[in-house]
């Protein structure tokens, strides 16, 4: 698939409003609009208006930074301090998104304070028309019954607290027993009544859960509200301080206008068309810069999320223009863009340093060589699995999370923190691992995997001792090293020099130098010296055997700078 980038954007922002030739395409386009629904949500927020504006703000921020390279979000509270984006424009876009219903499922279920949350999801799949209504009704009732149960429980608990307070009062010297004693009896009776109500609510809920109907597929998505309205300016971003109403629209500073927004539609289709238009001066440039950064390590513009006044100037402005226009001319094809870049002379330069160039441009801003760079967390994990021989390059047959998480229908957002690292012990590539906000795998946390709570255009490249400790001591690295060892030693006819060759080729994609072979063989001939033998560990005999020494060698290779660097 090489979905043209302009089409991709239209689908992400307004796929539900685009024509579709068959139900499959319609589903695909609806699922694409999950882009607007899947951002982080402050489910603790108890004020519906604040929550709603926070969701819109997150959408504007992501659209602005990722597609346009602009921090539009700054204009929520005041005119943008640097870029020509007035508050008015922010609320013009907010009006469009406010006219959109975001189907994100629900947050923590059954809490009174957050009961206003929409529980709807988008039904998808061939059976959706048949099953959707009953399925959604079931989910709505499930939410209502959970709330009823929890409310009954907390109401009962309130009486329990009154009772305990009355008993404390009674125990005090000089207490008015004549008044308190009947009160205590009354409260006891009241608790008895509540016990019955709570029990009834619990039974009702559990009966309901036992009778879930056949479900369609559910997806996060977006759809237009029945009657879209304009948004009023929120002075200083406050929901309680409303200013003038702003017609729905887009940023006025860009030269390409959006299509006319009809009073009966949200304007999301026009927003999508405006973002993805060939005349939009930012979209294509921001995108080709991202692709360039991905391939070359740093962008022509080194602030990929900020093409505004405060962003950095492009190092090669004409090249950026050329690539953007070619990209549009080639039908927004990512494949053609990548092909053009990777077949360039610049891309094929080696990372070999040239002293004179190094002295003149140590940052390699002018791209005179390949910049050596860190392997990211996912690739590093995959590369370790390649060395150990465990990587399964195929796509997993189902979502990894679905296999682990016993969720009931529709409970997409209530993941409990008890997921352990076993969730991530999959032989599939890191790109297929689930990303649960606030719960990244240990290795990803250590190796600069970005926070899933905000858009990140460039990852950090940190060097901290905790990473070194991971390579030195993590049971996972050790077990993968042992696995690699087992593979290397599996053929008894090979000699150690051949095996060292094999290990280097697999880990570094190159043959070792004669010195390196000598060094490795010398290391292998040393005595094993394991700290822990006996139950739960290898036996003394095994510890002294050559495989453990090999394991140490493999582990040293995995932790080495060369293994962690693309060059």
């Amino acid at each position: 698939m090489d979905v043209p980038y302009d089409q991709f954007l239209r689908e992400q922002v307004a796929g539900d409003l685009l024509p579709a030739s068959d139900p499959r395409q319609a589903d695909r386009q609806r699922i694409a609009t999950g882009f607007l629904a899947m951002g982080p949500k402050a489910f603790e927020e108890s004020k519906p208006d604040v929550f709603r504006m926070d969701v819109i703000d997150e959408q504007i921020e992501v659209i602005g930074r990722s597609i346009l390279g602009l921090s539009i979000g700054c204009a929520r509270c005041h005119d943008h301090k640097f870029d020509p984006i007035p508050t008015r424009d922010y609320y013009a876009i907010a009006g469009i998104l406010g006219g959109t219903e975001t189907l994100y499922g629900h947050g923590t279920r059954g809490i009174k304070a957050t009961a206003f949350h929409n529980t709807a999801l988008q039904p998808v799949g061939p059976d959706a028309p048949r099953l959707a209504k009953a399925g959604q009704d079931y989910l709505d009732t499930l939410q209502a019954l959970t709330l009823k149960q929890n409310t009954a429980r907390s109401d009962r608990y309130r009486v329990v607290r009154w009772l305990s307070d009355a008993k404390v009062q009674l125990g005090k010297p000089g207490a008015d027993a004549a008044k308190l004693q009947p009160e205590i009896e009354r409260l006891n009776a009241l608790i008895g009544e509540w016990d019955i109500k709570v029990k009834a609510a619990e039974t009702e809920l559990s009966n309901w859960q036992d009778h879930a109907p056949e479900m369609p597929g559910w997806a996060m998505a977006s759809r237009d509200k029945p009657a879209p309205v304009n948004c009023r300016i929120h002075v200083r971003g406050e929901v309680t301080n409303l200013g003038e109403e702003v017609p729905r629209g887009v940023l006025r500073v860009l030269p390409n206008p959006a299509g006319r927004i009809s009073p009966s539609s949200s304007g999301r289709l026009e927003l999508a068309g405006w973002l993805a238009g060939a005349k939009n001066p930012l979209t294509a440039r921001v995108y080709v810069n991202r692709v360039w950064q991905h391939l070359f390590g740093q962008g022509l513009v080194t602030t990929p999320d900020d093409f505004g006044v405060n962003g950095s100037r492009p190092s090669h402005p004409q090249l950026l223009d050329y690539l953007a226009l070619r990209f549009i001319g080639h039908g927004w094809s990512t494949k053609k863009l990548v092909r053009e870049l990777v077949t360039s002379r610049t891309y094929q330069l080696s990372s070999q340093p040239v002293p004179a160039s190094l002295a003149a441009d140590s940052e390699n801003t002018l791209a005179w060589r390949m910049s050596p760079r860190r392997v990211d967390a996912e690739s590093l994990r995959d590369a370790i699995l390649v060395v150990s021989g465990r990587l399964n390059p195929a796509r997993p047959s189902s979502e990894i999370l679905a296999a682990v998480h016993p969720y009931r229908h529709g409970e997409f957002t209530t993941f409990k923190p008890q997921f352990g690292q076993e969730l991530y012990d999959s032989p599939h590539r890191g790109v297929y691992l689930p990303v649960i906000r606030g719960l990244p795998p240990e290795m990803f946390q250590l190796f600069d995997f970005p926070s899933a709570e905000r858009p990140t255009s460039r990852r950090d490249e940190s060097t901290v001792p905790a990473q070194a400790l991971f390579f030195m001591n993590s049971p996972w690295v050790i077990s993968e090293s042992r696995r690699a060892t087992a593979g290397l030693l599996s053929n008894p006819t090979r000699d150690d020099a051949t095996r060292v060759n094999q290990l280097f080729e697999r880990a570094f994609s190159r043959k070792p130098t004669p010195d390196e072979v000598k060094q490795a063989l010398a290391y292998l001939s040393g005595p094993a010296d394991t700290a822990f033998t006996g139950p739960g560990h290898v036996s003394k005999a095994e510890a002294d055997a050559r495989p453990e020494r090999w394991t140490s060698l493999v582990q040293a290779i995995l932790g080495s700078a060369e293994f962690r660097t693309l060059k």
């Binding site: 921090s71 640097f82 923190p417 070194a468 700290a531 700078a561």
Partner: protein, 449 residues
């Protein structure tokens, strides 16, 4: 001939630690964001211990006596159906300063002259997650770096064998990780989390600190092999980051030795263990955290946070206050005494408090609601005025009315005490400069000694 950076490091390796890292920082600050740095001006404090009282402790049951509230007990409150609820415990004027402290905290009261009580605290949000996030990061709407991350970014770490920002037994569920993260600051400024709220602090440590298979000698031999490959690679690629990687392995190797010692409280004398009340079942876990906090700052860790989790007393105010105060009183007092007798209190800023306070009224009459409009915290050591009370709430304790200190002001003051100007401690991200205090914050000059 000017020595190369590596020669410099090698020559300094005998006394490795601060000196060598200062050298490394000068050579390439970007590579080690944790290198110790000078602040903007002469600092009062150089380290921080934050005793985070999660849930929002009641000010009128700790450090803010409200005689008028007691007198009006049972009268209608501001909210319909809510009656005013007096405090059940008397306060005692303590120390020479005569600061009033609730009788539930007798050990802390003895140290009243060390405390600088802020009775006019207020913050923007009355929900726990948002208020806790603002307490830690200054913002409850956006993901922003933690206070500890800013401090580490501003000052670096003094001991390069240890992490610079440690949070012991943090609550990591429900978005809690956000309270300790570096956000857009260099990732190395994130907190090192030891243990979590679900596990007792006796087991708190960091991951992968010991080899499960090799002896120190064998691991050194393995490391030598790797480092030799790394040095070849550094020479071949002229990639300056490889040098940082080589150093990080050496640090990690040393950290394996040093950190377990720092975390091993058994090395303390019997007298010290008794001082904190380690053996006491009511205060044991929190006592252990306090002692670890002292050991960590003593070893040169810049910012340590520990927490007590159970201050959200909507019900069972009576029993909850008795239990909580018993758990924190002796350990907190011991921490101050211990820091002082080791000469560390002057340079260590101790912060006590939660995300907000409680309401003077409640429908249940054995609990209190959330109150972000007025509450108290206290500071001690680190250049603050001891035996001083700043600010006040109204007669009932609803709102701060005098000497008001917003969370932003508190942050500005903490940075100031550490020698950092909150308006100059900035980081450029997404096209603009960010601050811990955003566009807010006034240093509370009155509380600085």
């Amino acid at each position: 001939m000017k020595p190369s950076r590596r020669q410099l490091l090698q020559s300094a390796s005998a006394g490795f630690g601060h000196v060598a890292f200062a050298g490394l920082a000068a050579a390439d600050a970007a590579k080690n964001p944790l290198a110790a740095k000078e602040g903007h001006f002469q600092a009062k404090a150089s380290r921080v211990i934050f005793l985070c009282m999660r849930g929002g402790p009641s000010h009128m049951e700790t450090f803010d006596p409200k005689p008028r509230l007691n007198a009006d007990h049972g009268k209608p409150g501001k909210t319909p159906h809510c009656k005013l609820l007096g405090s059940r415990w008397p306060f005692k004027k303590s120390g020479q300063s005569g600061i009033e402290v609730v009788e539930l905290l007798p050990e802390t009261a003895r140290l009243a002259d060390k405390l600088c009580v802020l009775r006019g605290m207020h913050t923007d949000n009355e929900n726990h997650p948002q208020a806790l996030e603002q307490l830690h990061t200054g913002s409850f709407q956006f993901v922003r770096p933690s206070l500890g991350s800013w401090v580490l970014y501003g000052l670096g770490n003094e001991n390069q064998n240890l992490p610079g920002f440690v949070s012991i037994n943090p609550l990591t569920a429900l978005g809690g990780r956000r309270y300790y993260q570096s956000a857009f600051l260099p990732a190395a400024c994130s907190a090192t989390l030891m243990g979590d709220a679900q596990r007792p602090s006796a087991n708190a440590s960091i991951g992968n600190l010991a080899s499960p298979r090799l002896t120190g000698r064998a691991q050194r031999e393995q490391l030598d092999l790797m480092q030799s490959m790394n040095r070849d690679f550094a020479a071949k690629t002229a990639d300056p980051r490889v040098e940082g990687l080589i150093q990080s392995y050496e640090l990690a190797f040393r950290m394996q030795d040093e950190l377990p010692h720092v975390l091993d409280v058994r090395q303390e004398s019997k007298e010290t263990l008794a001082l904190y009340g380690i053996a006491n079942p009511s205060s044991g876990t929190f006592a252990q955290q306090c002692l670890l906090a002292r050991r960590l700052v003593e070893a040169g860790v810049r910012f340590v946070e520990i927490s007590h989790l159970e201050w959200d007393l909507h019900g069972s105010l009576n029993s909850g206050m008795v239990r909580n105060c018993a758990q924190i009183d002796r350990p907190v007092a011991a921490l101050l005494i211990d820091l002082e007798r080791r000469g560390l209190l002057d340079e260590t800023l101790v912060i006590w408090g939660g995300e907000f306070g409680r309401t003077p009224e409640d429908p249940t009459q054995d609990g209190r609601g959330h109150n972000n409009k007025g509450y108290c915290m206290w500071l001690a050591g680190g250049g603050v005025r001891g035996g001083h009370v700043h600010g006040a709430t109204d007669d009932h304790g609803y709102e701060a009315v005098e000497g008001k200190v917003h969370t932003h002001d508190l942050h500005a003051t903490i940075l100031h005490l550490l020698g950092l100007d909150h308006e100059r401690l900035t980081y450029r991200h997404g096209g603009r400069d960010y601050r811990l205090t955003d566009v807010h914050g006034t240093v509370v000059k009155e509380i600085i000694a």
